[in-house]
Symmetry: C3
Subunit: 133 residues, 3 copies
Amino acid sequence: MLKQISLSTNKKFDLIDITSNIKKIVETSKVKDGLCVVYAPHATGAIIINESADPELKKDILDQLAELVPDHGKYRHDRIDNNAQAHIKTALLGSSESIPIKDGKLQLGTWQAIMFAELDGPRDQRKVLVKII
Amino acid sequence: MLKQISLSTNKKFDLIDITSNIKKIVETSKVKDGLCVVYAPHATGAIIINESADPELKKDILDQLAELVPDHGKYRHDRIDNNAQAHIKTALLGSSESIPIKDGKLQLGTWQAIMFAELDGPRDQRKVLVKII
Amino acid sequence: MLKQISLSTNKKFDLIDITSNIKKIVETSKVKDGLCVVYAPHATGAIIINESADPELKKDILDQLAELVPDHGKYRHDRIDNNAQAHIKTALLGSSESIPIKDGKLQLGTWQAIMFAELDGPRDQRKVLVKII
């Protein structure tokens, strides 16, 4: 089963918690024991798994990413499209994560949430693919 | 098949080689051709695949991570829980890796080991989930 | 089905687009709905998914990685083998990515390409494993 989550983002940088959407998809699939693959089909947006409970932590993550890959670096790509920073961060964070399913439940840890990392927003049509095996 | 590896860690930062545990799980599963998904259900610990033979390299990896995400940065989250650095490193390293199985064997390269990255230890009850498909 | 892509690289640092090889493997597999796992069995080379259309962006990505993990850092491992930087970058980028397949097609986004990141080349015998489920 393959499902799509559609998102519209309204900031340049954001971490958007999609855990409840994915849990619903796992439930609907009726898969008892399997795997859930979460995939971001974008070159300027990524998938991360981390704590979502503290909104301040999300800011810390995004700020530290900006520290590592500055917004106004001397990127060659920025002459074509002013978003090299987003591409580089996406390469670092990665486009997919795979989470085991057991007894019909996603095996996330207590503090884990699945998030889409918007790195070049705002964008109307972001999507995340969720494959259940 | 889903198995759990339990770990207790005794340093703040450590890379713990779990390759032999995972090889044993693959063997027990009797799966000839398939996939092995290794998953860390934590927000302050991650999965990496790298060389484990040289203990000095592990220190290099952990030190460079500390260079990129300093221990005593100005993280907002640290007012709640003094471990923002661990969350940020976990986001960078990722929570899952998927390794093909062929002829009953994990297709690791010569210098590859699968490691749990402890980034906020010591901890009594870390676990790693291993899903065989 | 498990297939191997063989590569020889001719630079120290390079991002090599292997999307068309992988698309061919997916086609040959005749799998309509499934998953494609791309795996690099190396400790000094990784898998990334990003834009490949602009060659300048590839340089930006490699340059920023060098900014984060300098070539001539004080790495202990370099006394044994002068490539600690490549190991650290591989840990950051990751060894596997999983992409859904739908209607026989890899569900890559418009700007996404799958690339092998050579981080310690040139090398005669690099390989990438492609598992179709």
